[in-house]
């Protein structure tokens, strides 16, 4: 017997415990993707129960099914167009009046509905009682009691799903909106029918209600479907809206919402004792401290510091083990594969490139773990509340602060962490300025250059670079807000959910799916980019076009050693020196070297020579590579790659002004390609190109000004 396939959709308010119930139902058999055309995350999973194979789709958490946000439209369209066999609305039973608002809208849609009353343990503990049977009868839907955090009720829920699927359609309860509105609904329905407007999958009464609510999505759909006949409908709607507003003194959308609450209140009056406003509870007491006017910000700073320590200090160890593992792998491949192009590609290109990115994984996992804890416990919303005033001044959202701080560690998780911002403009501005939070990979570059040119005050010089980065971020946030991302951003209204102890299962699933996305996506793109960079730095090959007779020099060194004129140590140094010079020439001969020379005129006004340009290009792969590229270009031999000899070389070739300027340029131009790949994934190709373009331009302009103005004062 083959399993019968059915689809159920999970809907519910934010913080109603919907995700927990989804996890309980599907376990790890989940699939994360996006709804077509939008960046709203789509999660689905499979559960087998009796003879059914049930596809569970987790809809975005919403308060209602209006067309206010992308999430709401996605949830509504899924219910209407995909026609799931059953819709389950997860309801926080300790807050029925609010949560049943969404349920009422689902009842209006006349979908096969089950209400999952979650967190019934909290209700019982508070001594209240819900008459489930009565409420179920009053609302015309079946209700299942659950405690998601303890995994109770999943079986009963699945049983109810099967009952609904097997049973025929039962008579539904209709929500009434009061005489005035009902009259107008009848009027609109008759006009729609008379004009023979196609209503697609929608119920006509439902459309009439939505038109009265002036729901933009539905109005647009009807407008498109009715063509020239729309003017007649538009006229009717206008007159109805005016009529209602003049009689009832509030616009229809408010009256209709009020009627829904009336419907809920009517039912709850019978089946539940309402206590009105909640008393000062535990959450309120915690909030007195955490969102305190004076203590709020210091506490937030401490939490962020703790998170930073957790992610980067603790993450350092597994990251180092992974790094060591890749080193061992390189050594292994070096031993197995004979010298030549294949080995170079494997070791320098693929293992070096992909390995460098994979070593970030522990940090990413810890970061998402920390974020999941902050989100699930309810603190994240408070953090946004506390920081909103300051961040608002530079045109950002309170939550922006979190990815920005993460950016000091690594820009890759910072971009991914920007997901906590629901508003697209907030998210994009936050991502676009995140690169100025100087990441850990840039530090080796600063250490090298500050050490070479300002050994006495290196610490202060490096600090000044970090400070300039922060100032740049503030300036650019303001500029971007005033130009590309102008316009009304969504007003700040955000739920501060009750504090809850997060469940380990929930956090682990959260962490896992995000971290896996990083490994999978970044891994594949990075592989391609690593190979590309390797090609740039390897081809065309120099062949026999060295400027000096290196082969002769090596022979000469060997001869001297054989005849005992030099010691073994001197021999090693001699060979290494020659090889380093050869490597330098090979690099100069390669495409990257040529691009460097080609671009030199562009960078001349900044005081850079072609070697600095090549180093900058290599920094695109990863910023710390700049140091090793500089080493190769200045022929610092492998055995003696002490930073000091490179520092001396740099000091002899450039002025301190140019050195400082190079640090500035490194700070300002876009972060590594791994970060750009993630940027593209999160925000699209256009935004990624904008990010690359404007940071390059900014880096050039700032460095140009610093060099040209500095030249006047410093000789």
């Amino acid at each position: 017997m083959t399993a019968r396939q059915i689809t159920i959709a999970l809907s519910g308010n934010p913080n109603s415990g919907k995700t927990t119930i989804f996890n309980n139902l599907t376990g790890l058999r989940q699939h994360v993707g996006n709804y077509p055309g939008v960046t709203v995350e789509k999660k689905s999973g499979i559960v087998e129960y009796k003879e059914f194979k049930i596809n569970v789709v987790d809809l975005p958490g919403t308060y209602s099914l209006t067309a206010y946000s992308m999430e709401e439209i996605v949830a509504r369209n899924f219910v209407i167009n995909e026609k799931p066999d059953v819709v389950i609305d997860v309801v926080d039973s300790s807050n029925l009046e609010r949560n049943l608002y969404l349920a009422t809208q689902l009842i209006e849609l006349e979908v096969p509905l089950i209400l999952a009353f979650n967190m019934t343990d909290i209700v019982k503990k508070s001594g209240k009682k819900i008459d489930i049977d009565l409420l179920s009868e009053l609302l015309g839907v079946s209700i299942i009691e659950m405690v998601g955090s303890k995994g109770l009720g999943s079986k009963e829920l699945l049983e109810a799903v099967i009952m609904v699927v097997k049973s025929k359609k039962e008579k539904k309860v209709e929500v009434k909106y009061g005489e005035e509105v009902e009259n107008e609904i009848v009027r609109i329905i008759s006009v729609l029918k008379k004009q023979k407007i196609p209503t697609f999958n929608f119920d006509t009464r439902w459309i009439a209600v939505k038109l009265l609510e002036q729901d933009k999505e539905i109005i647009d759909t009807i407008k498109k479907a009715s063509g020239p006949k729309y003017s007649k409908i538009d006229e009717t709607i206008r007159s109805s809206v005016n009529h209602i507003t003049s009689i009832l003194r509030d616009p229809p959308e408010v009256i209709i919402a009020d009627a829904r609450y009336g419907f809920i209140k009517g039912a709850l009056l019978e089946a539940y004792k309402e206590t009105g406003l909640a008393e000062l509870d535990r959450s309120e007491k915690i909030d007195r401290i955490l969102t305190n006017r004076i203590m709020g910000i210091p506490i937030f700073a401490f939490v962020i510091w703790l998170m930073f320590q957790f992610v980067f200090t603790l993450g350092k160890y597994p990251a180092n083990w992974l790094g060591l593992g890749f080193e061992k792998l390189s050594a292994l491949v070096t031993n197995i594969v004979p010298q030549g192009l294949v080995r170079s590609l494997l070791v320098d290109g693929i293992i070096g490139g992909v390995g460098g990115v994979i070593t970030f994984t522990p940090n990413i996992i810890l970061l998402f773990f920390a974020i999941a804890v902050l989100e699930d416990s309810g603190y994240m919303a408070r953090a946004a509340f506390v920081m909103d005033r300051i961040m608002h001044k530079i045109g950002l959202h309170g939550k922006s602060f979190i990815p920005l701080v993460i950016g000091f560690g690594c820009t890759v998780p910072a971009y991914m962490g920007s997901r906590i911002l629901e508003n697209k403009k907030d998210r994009l501005v936050t991502m676009h300025i995140n690169t100025f939070m100087s990441c850990g990979a840039r530090l080796p570059v600063y250490i090298l250059f500050a050490g070479a040119f300002f050994p006495a005050v290196a610490g202060n010089v490096i600090f000044s670079i970090y400070l300039i980065g922060v100032i740049m971020a503030v300036i650019m946030a303001k500029v971007l807000r005033a130009t590309r991302f102008r316009g009304e951003s969504d007003p700040f209204v955000m739920e501060l959910p009750a504090y809850r102890l997060p469940t380990l299962k929930g956090i682990l699933i959260h962490t896992w799916e995000r971290a896996w996305l990083y490994v999978k996506k970044a891994g594949t793109i990075i592989l391609a980019i690593s190979i590309l960079m390797w090609i740039l730095f390897t081809f065309p090959m120099i062949g026999n076009n060295y400027t000096q007779d290196y082969a002769g020099q090596i022979e000469e060194t060997e001869r001297l050693y054989q005849s005992g004129e030099i010691t073994g140590q001197e021999y090693d140094i001699g060979i290494a020196t020659v090889e380093a010079e050869m490597a330098g020439e090979r690099l100069a001969y390669s495409a990257a070297g040529r691009i460097g020379r080609f671009l030199e005129p562009v960078f001349k006004p900044l005081g850079f020579d072609w070697k600095m340009v090549v180093a900058t290009i290599s920094g695109i792969a990863a910023k710390e590579v700049i140091v090793s590229t500089m080493g190769t270009l200045y022929s610092i031999q492998e055995t003696d790659r002490q930073p000091d000899s490179l520092k001396t070389a740099l000091y002899n070739h450039y002025t301190p002004l140019v050195g400082y300027n190079f640090m500035l340029f490194t700070l300002l131009y876009f972060p590594c390609l791994a970060a750009m790949a993630i940027f593209r994934k999160e925000a699209g190709t256009k935004e990624m190109l904008f990010q690359m373009g404007y940071t390059l331009l900014l880096a050039w302009v700032v460095s140009f000004l610093v060099f040209q103005i500095g030249r006047i004062f410093i000789k």
Binding site: D215, D258, G262, F385, R389, V493
Partner: protein, 96 residues
């Protein structure tokens, strides 16, 4: 049948007449006090949104916190919300 329990109620209770001078915006609300929502006047899109969150004329809410120039912390229908100043200015309230 208990169908009568589902009859539309609520609207009538909210139909009160407010004198204009009694009404002020939520941005002026003092922490630690309860108020009643008189009316909301933003666009219809935002009206629907606020209604769905429980900000509906006649509803009593409690201001649990506010910082100067920053968002307000407001409890309505058993859930706490942070509301930006700009948003709060669009919600008209009155003393109970």
């Amino acid at each position: 049948m208990r169908r009568w329990g589902l009859q539309f109620r609520g609207r009538k209770a909210n139909r009160e007449h407010y004198r204009a001078e009694d009404i002020f915006s939520m941005a002026e609300a003092a922490p630690g006090k309860k108020y009643k929502i008189a009316r909301i006047d933003s666009g219809c899109r935002l009206n629907s949104r606020l209604c769905a969150m429980g900000f509906i004329p006649g509803e009593v809410f409690y201001v649990s916190g506010a910082s100067r120039g920053g968002p307000l912390c407001v409890m309505v229908k058993g859930t706490k919300f942070a509301i930006g100043r700009g948003m709060a200015e669009k919600i008209q309230i009155r003393e109970i």
